[in-house]
């Protein structure tokens, strides 16, 4: 094994997601002989679960991305001069509130002073990527947490019985 280039490109979550979905479709379609390696199945399944879990935009409906999204958002945010890393995080996390944008953008108050400007940026993001159903998302998050805690409890009980 020889590493030729440690980092030849960065990918957005959306790109990884489409790659995994394409791969799945390809494997399903060809009625391919044999199974795929088990370690691959594991990581792909877990990664897709992660992508689908609230509040990830990839899990929300309607699906917020298509092949033009990156281009469109990039063009519309051009005047604000975001760095590449910031743009990547905006795509992945879809911040539509100034507080959320604040975690992503460094020195936000210095670069984008005033709530009005920050809201304007959030508006653009919401226009291109859509708005999450906040209520449903929070509901899903609490449900997930409760579900996982129950699961842990069940496991604990089983151990005691054994």
């Amino acid at each position: 094994m020889k590493i030729l280039e440690a980092q030849s490109a960065t990918l957005t979550n959306y790109e990884v997601y489409t790659h995994l979905m394409d791969q799945r479709a390809r494997y399903a379609k060809k009625e391919m002989q044999g199974r795929r390696p088990g370690n691959l199945e594991t990581v792909v399944k877990e990664l897709l679960e992660y992508f689908h879990e609230a509040p990830s935009p990839l899990g929300s409906k309607p699906f917020p991305y298509n092949e033009h999204t990156i281009r469109t958002l990039f063009d519309r945010l051009r005047p604000y001069d975001f760095t590449k890393a910031e743009f990547l995080m905006i795509l992945n996390l879809r911040p539509i509130k100034p507080e959320n944008l604040n975690t992503i953008v460094e020195e936000m108050e210095g670069r984008f002073p005033g709530e009005e400007l920050q809201r304007e940026i959030c508006e653009i993001i919401a226009e291109v990527l859509g708005k999450p159903d906040g209520e449903a998302e929070r509901h899903a998050m609490s449900e997930n947490a409760i579900e996982a805690r129950k699961e842990l409890e069940r496991q604990g009980e089983n151990v005691e019985i054994e």
Binding site: M1, N39, E46, A54, A85
Partner: protein, 203 residues
């Protein structure tokens, strides 16, 4: 969160895979070797992204294996410094909070990287954040949280000789790749605190 890494490697196709298409056999081979594994200073490999080139297959002496030199790109999980990510709290100790995602569970938020006013509750094994007005917000287990990547820790896990093993006895084997994060900023921490609708959530 994800990057592409270009790698050159030798793929050996076993005779029982000869009924597969060559490209598929190579893909499976690469995935079996790399998927869900950590390469030092590169990250957690997810799967093959694309095959860039492959040599003619050569059969070596003594075995029936077909040897192919390939160049390919891998999808790799390697969050960059200061990237903001989502995860879930899996447990907490006095030292800090452990966070995991479905596919990667080596994320740690040390106590020093929690917002000011965060305290550990030993009886519940939880952290809470005390606000200025005295109300408490809890970092419950399994809660979805937002955090920022601050540091990565690599531990080489190459096998040890018997002598080294004796020396290292008693030390806990740490994972090859651990990410340290921070929640000490407005907007970081449990998503439910910040994503509330309406004005009351906005300070």
């Amino acid at each position: 969160m994800f990057i592409l890494t270009k790698i050159a490697d030798l793929v050996q196709i076993h005779p029982e895979d000869f009924n597969k298409e060559a490209s598929q056999a190579i893909e499976d081979n690469i995935n079996a070797k790399y998927a869900n594994k950590v390469i030092q200073k590169i990250g957690l490999c997810i799967c093959l992204y694309d095959l860039l080139s492959a040599s003619e297959g050569l059969i070596g002496h003594g075995t029936g294996l077909v040897n192919v030199n390939v160049e390919f790109r891998l999808v790799v999980f390697r969050p960059f410094k200061h990237e903001v990510m989502l995860g879930r709290i899996s447990s907490a100790t006095e030292e800090g909070i452990r966070v995991r995602t479905q596919f990667f569970d080596q994320i740690f938020i040390p106590t020093s990287n929690l917002p000011e006013g965060s305290k550990f509750l030993p009886s519940e094994q939880l952290f809470y954040w005390e606000l200025e007005d005295g109300s408490k917000l809890y970092y419950d287990n399994q809660e979805t949280v937002r955090f920022r990547i601050e540091e990565e820790v690599w531990t080489d896990q190459s096998p040890m000789g018997p002598k080294e093993r004796d020396d290292a006895a008693g030390t806990i084997k740490s994972s090859p790749y651990v990410v340290k994060g921070s929640m000490a900023d407005a907007g970081l921490g449990p998503c439910l605190w910040w994503d509330g609708e309406g004005e009351e959530a906005e300070e």
